[in-house]
């Protein structure tokens, strides 16, 4: 859907991603929320709506997300909501909420602490409880099936996948929040054994503990507090069938539809931050969004250099906003995904004013 009322990103912050944070989720969220609010110059008590994205399964406790409100400050009482999804969908809800015009600011955050559990055993719980969960069908195995379909179709090679990993880790050296960084030789990466064939370790995202917060404001309010707001020009999300065997895994129809609805193709995109959590998903997303070689993909290092589940998609949007607010870019894109093998996808197009 094209944007109805002008809404912009005017503040953002991320936690430094860690393999195993010593702090609790609410402890590492606290400075992130403070930093995003500080950047936005909106006093905490003036925020009209707060929306969070997190996953109780990661915490292993029902209503664990309520504790994260400690990091927001919920007294005097605030108006807030939560999605059991990546923070990018919390941003979508806040964007819809701002369309009502009775408030002009919103705080959005996503957070996740994956380290205490075993993702290979926890994630199958989100699958079809009758035909997939009992098989323990885990995200790496499903991603590997998708990668095989892509390799069989001749749409990508294992070398191209390793090159994507090497580029992401190299770019991540400039990202203070990244977790897996450095110079890697593609031949050496390809000499590594498969973890789950045809995926090697470098094809997988790291396990990360992390958080991201974003502050939104409407029209005049955004201009009042921010020199160069990142305007949300289009935002949309689409979902496909939950059975992976009922989709063509070598393409992403939902990403294409979301991209079309968000207006990706109506003007050139300079930078795209894609939630490609596995190397082979980057070419699928590029194709679905029609992003050519002139588009810079994941200059932050992307999800391959840090994968804070429930925050990684919002972090892509924050990075895309940063390219406009701090980098002076004209038009960028943030993408988030949910479910296995890119089942559900959200596309957010951002623009700076000339």
């Amino acid at each position: 859907m094209a944007a109805l009322k002008d809404v912009a990103i005017i503040g953002y912050a991320q936690a430094r991603n860690e393999r195993q944070a010593q702090a609790t989720e609410v402890q590492f969220l606290f400075p992130v929320i403070n930093e995003a609010l500080e950047m936005s110059k909106i006093p905490r008590r003036e925020i009209g709506f707060t929306c969070a994205g997190s996953c109780d399964y990661l915490s292993g406790q029902t209503f664990a997300f309520v504790m994260n409100l400690e990091a927001v400050g919920a007294w005097p009482p605030i108006s807030e909501s939560h999605v059991e999804m990546d923070g990018a969908w919390a941003l979508y809800e806040a964007w819809v909420r701002l369309q009502h015009e009775d408030i002009d600011t919103a705080l959005v955050f996503g957070s996740g602490k994956s380290s205490p559990g075993n993702p290979a055993e926890i994630y199958p719980l989100q699958m079809d409880p009758y035909t997939l969960t009992p098989l323990g069908f885990d995200p790496v195995s499903s991603a590997a099936i998708q990668a095989r379909a892509l390799l069989d179709a001749g749409k990508v090679t294992e070398r191209q996948m390793a090159e994507i990993a090497a580029r992401s880790r190299r770019d991540a050296m400039k990202n203070p929040y990244a977790q897996v960084t450095g110079e890697f030789d593609v031949d050496e990466l390809l000499a590594q054994p498969y973890v789950t064939a045809p995926l090697r370790k470098h094809d997988l995202p790291p396990i990360s503990d992390g958080a991201c917060a974003v502050v939104l404001a409407t029209g005049d309010k955004a201009r009042e507090v921010c020199e160069r707001p990142a305007w949300i020009r289009g935002i949309d999300h689409r979902i496909e069938a939950h059975q992976p065997g009922m989709r063509d895994l070598t393409t992403s129809r939902s990403t294409r539809l979301a991209g079309e609805a968000a207006g990706v193709g109506s003007a050139p995109i300079e930078v795209a931050e894609l939630s490609a959590t596995f190397t082979h998903q980057e070419p699928i997303l590029r194709e679905a969004l029609g992003l050519g070689d002139q588009v810079a993909i994941n200059p932050s290092g992307g999800a391959l250099s840090a994968n804070p589940v429930m925050a990684v998609g919002l972090a892509r949007i924050a990075e895309a906003a940063k390219q406009i607010v701090e980098g002076g870019r004209r038009r960028t894109l943030g993408h988030a995904t949910s479910g296995m093998c890119l089942q559900q996808n959200l596309v957010c197009v951002l623009e700076g004013e000339q």
Binding site: P134, L135, F137, R148, D152, T196, A197, Q243, P244, L249
Partner: protein
């Protein structure tokens, strides 16, 4: 274990608490029929227009329309359309030794279902290979009534 409370030494009591969901539920006319079929060593798909969906869904994923419970027996053998090779199974996986997770399009079906393939070695796995189910002796109407699939013409 002991703890000190207001200067007095108190024995801590341990109790065992089992979390349970003490209710049963129906799986409905579609998934229920599918699992009843598995118990009887039959694999059922559902018609959705010209296509046969396996596992069956209550709705057409293309249109969202409700589907009539019009079942078709498929398989039991099928063709692997894509696969991965798990070298270190988790305790939640169907097999405790290296195996393939595969998308298997059963004969007569237009979609593929996820299941494990006990091929013994990655060298025996390939896209397009033929597989057939290995049924459990005691079946309960669950997806794992099929213990796994095995290469056609000889188990691993």
């Amino acid at each position: 274990m002991q703890c000190v409370l207001l200067g007095a030494v108190t024995e801590l009591r341990a109790t065992t608490h089992t979390i349970e969901f003490p209710y049963t539920r129906t799986l409905g006319p579609v998934i229920g029929s599918f699992f009843t079929g598995l118990r009887d060593r039959r694999i059922l798909g559902i018609r959705a227009g010209d296509r046969v969906l396996v596992p069956p869904l209550e709705y057409d994923p293309e249109t969202g329309d409700a589907l009539k419970p019009d079942f078709v027996e498929v398989g039991p053998a099928g063709t692997v359309t894509s696969w991965s090779w798990v070298t270190k199974p988790t305790r939640k996986h169907p097999l405790d030794r290296p195996f393939g997770f595969a998308l298997i399009r059963l004969d007569g079906a237009d979609t593929a279902m996820v299941h494990a393939v006990d091929a013994g070695s990655i060298d025996r796995m390939q896209t397009g290979m033929r597989v057939t189910p290995r049924w459990r002796d005691e079946r309960k109407g669950r997806i794992d009534d099929i213990e796994c699939f095995v290469p056609e013409g000889g188990a691993a």
